[in-house]
Amino acid sequence: MTQAPQQPTTTPPSFGVQLARYAGLIALSAVPLALLWSNPYWVNVLAYTYLFAALAASWNIIGGFGGQFSLGHGVFFAIGAYSVARLYLDVGLTPWIAIFPAAALATIIALLISWPTFRLRGPFFAIATMAINEACFALANYSDRITGGPRGILVPFRAGLSNMIFIERWKYALLMFAFMVVVVLITVWLRRARLGHYLLAVRADEDAARAAGIDVLKVKLQGMALSAFLTGIGGGLFAMYVRVLDPPTLFTLPEIGVKFALIALIGGIGTIIGPVVGALLIVPLENYLRGTLGGDIPGGHLIILGAILVAAALFLKRGVVGAVLAATQRSKRSRG
């Protein structure tokens, strides 16, 4: 039995103190937006950054806190995106409302998929969810009538607040930022709630959690439902942002499903602020590399991303946040 990583045994500070702390960190993450306000390229990159921070934080609920290493979150993301686009185009529903039925559908599908796959542990769960992602990729290519097949769905550009389509890029950046704040607040709540403690118990030792009277399957399903719901909303926002939805954009593993996990890993899996830190590091870096290397070396930015992934798995297991926490704890101990 491997030793679980040492959890800090001190009682967490009160909800107000914690909230204030995270509010400060989130305000800090808005600084780049304030600085780069007038630069449309970087505002665009920041909109992606905040969106992927929120998506990684959503993945982190089941993948980090619950320890269920899903590589299939691209499916829930895609369901959210396709549903919002279809509801907006066919029914004329405003995306502001359409994201909720879309996310609900993503949740239902997530529960149907998870019910059989949650009996698998560790790597088997990861493989099964990856297989689900690839199968849905194939289905999305196949079912012309719903997804538009390989050509995809094009949402026409009709600017307007009620259409969630804006001319100014900073409005998207603000929208994604707001979504990120909501997801982080939910994880702050979750970390203190009963469900959060149950998820941590399941991650640490499933059998012990069961022996302690926790309904393991129910806890995992609840965690997955919350995670998939938020991922579905993220997919809906993404749909109205890029307005071109084809299967490779929504299902490519290194770009979507695995990237959520990668961002969480770089920042710190199972920490509240880790996904935000990870996204702020990875997404701008990737865009920068794509810009500088992309023309000369095809796939150059992905070579570096792959190397970062391997290096992080080897040397930065608890992410940037984990490393910083460990360093501060060490300095505290040495001081007294």
Binding site: M1, T2, G67, F69, L71, P116, T117, R119, L120, R121, G122, P123, F124, A126, I127, A128, M130, A131, I132, E134, A135, F137, A138, L139, N141, Y142, L253, P254, V258, A261, L262, L265, I269, I297, P298, G299, G300, L302, I303, L305, G306, A307, I308, L309, V310, A311, A312, A313, L314, K317
Partner: protein, 296 residues
């Protein structure tokens, strides 16, 4: 009737391809307990190496296999030592690391070849064997017989030799194996390198069949995982028979349902097997739960 037989033959030959690719993956998965997402990229690298041998030195794929397999053996040693050995007891980090290797290998080859598609097809796969009115490409028949020979050879190796017995002991219980004086780390290294070398054999023999692309590994890896789950973790005959079954299912479904749905079909096989019999057709019951988590 003739259509049926033709589909049957093409299914078995396709199954040979899947068996060949899956045996190495299953060895690594079953023995070293590492989910190697980069296994498909090992095959891809071997295909490019084979092409290189042919284009530069005029060495045909059926000779190049004797160069490519040792090359991949060495690559396997390097990857295991540098990346996977330090992560032996951290399954989650292994997933990250091997996925990182997948992205790394895929895009390195893309950068080197600049996305140009290479093909050995003209030179080799046009030879067709005809028997009782059934037609089959020579290259595919070679793959099928190679897969059968490798499966048989590996089974003999595992049951007759000392090294093979050590590998089987480690599959069953690595702690007890260690207590019996087996060098578990060396067994891992040997097995991982052997799995990579088998990917090398597969790549060399598949090079005449497919048009080379940096992303071709993705075509194999999901099917190979389906085969491993179907056949049973760490079971060589399981991987062989599982490969044939997946090939047959894909071939028949491709003809009678729709070729675009083959991935959905793998997935259904996958999920049904996982629910009904998670240990696979020939695996040890419970192997999918135990062993992956504990065992230091």
């Amino acid at each position: 009737m003739e259509t049926f037989l033709n589909i049957l033959v093409s299914g078995i030959l396709l199954g040979g391809i899947y068996s060949l690719v899956s045996i190495g993956l299953n060895l690594i998965f079953g023995v070293v307990r590492i989910v190697n997402f980069a296994q498909g990229e090992f095959v891809m690298i071997a295909m490019y190496a084979t092409f290189f041998c042919f284009a530069k030195f005029g060495i045909g794929p059926y000779y190049a296999v004797f160069l490519v397999a040792p090359l991949l053996f060495v690559l396997g040693i390097v990857v295991q030592r540098l990346v996977l050995q330090p992560l032996q007891n951290e399954p989650m980090m292994q997933i990250f690391a091997t996925f990182g290797l997948l992205i790394l290998f895929e895009n390195s080859v893309l950068a080197i070849t600049r996305g140009e598609g290479y093909s050995l097809a003209g030179a080799y796969s046009n030879t067709v064997i005809e028997l009782f009115g059934l037609r089959a490409s020579f290259a595919r028949v070679v793959v099928f017989f190679a897969a059968s020979a490798i499966a048989l050879g590996l089974m003999l190796f595992l049951s007759r030799t000392m090294a093979g017995k050590a590998i089987r002991a480690v599959i069953q219980d690595r702690q007890s194996a260690r207590l019996m004086g087996i060098n578990v780390e060396r067994t891992y290294l040997l097995t991982f390198a052997l799995g990579a070398a088998l990917a090398g054999v597969a790549g060399a023999l598949l090079a005449p069949i497919y048009t080379l692309s940096p992303y071709i590994g993705g075509n194999f890896i999901l099917a190979a995982f389906a085969v491993v789950v179907l056949g049973g973790l760490g079971s060589v005959p399981g991987a062989y028979i599982g490969g044939l079954m997946v090939g047959l299912m894909e071939s028949f479904a491709g003809y009678y349902v729709d070729p675009a749905l083959k991935q959905a079909i793998w997935f259904i096989i996958f999920v049904v097997v996982l629910i009904v019999r998670p240990s696979g057709l020939m695996g040890q019951a419970g192997a999918e739960e135990v062993g992956l988590r504990e065992q230091t």
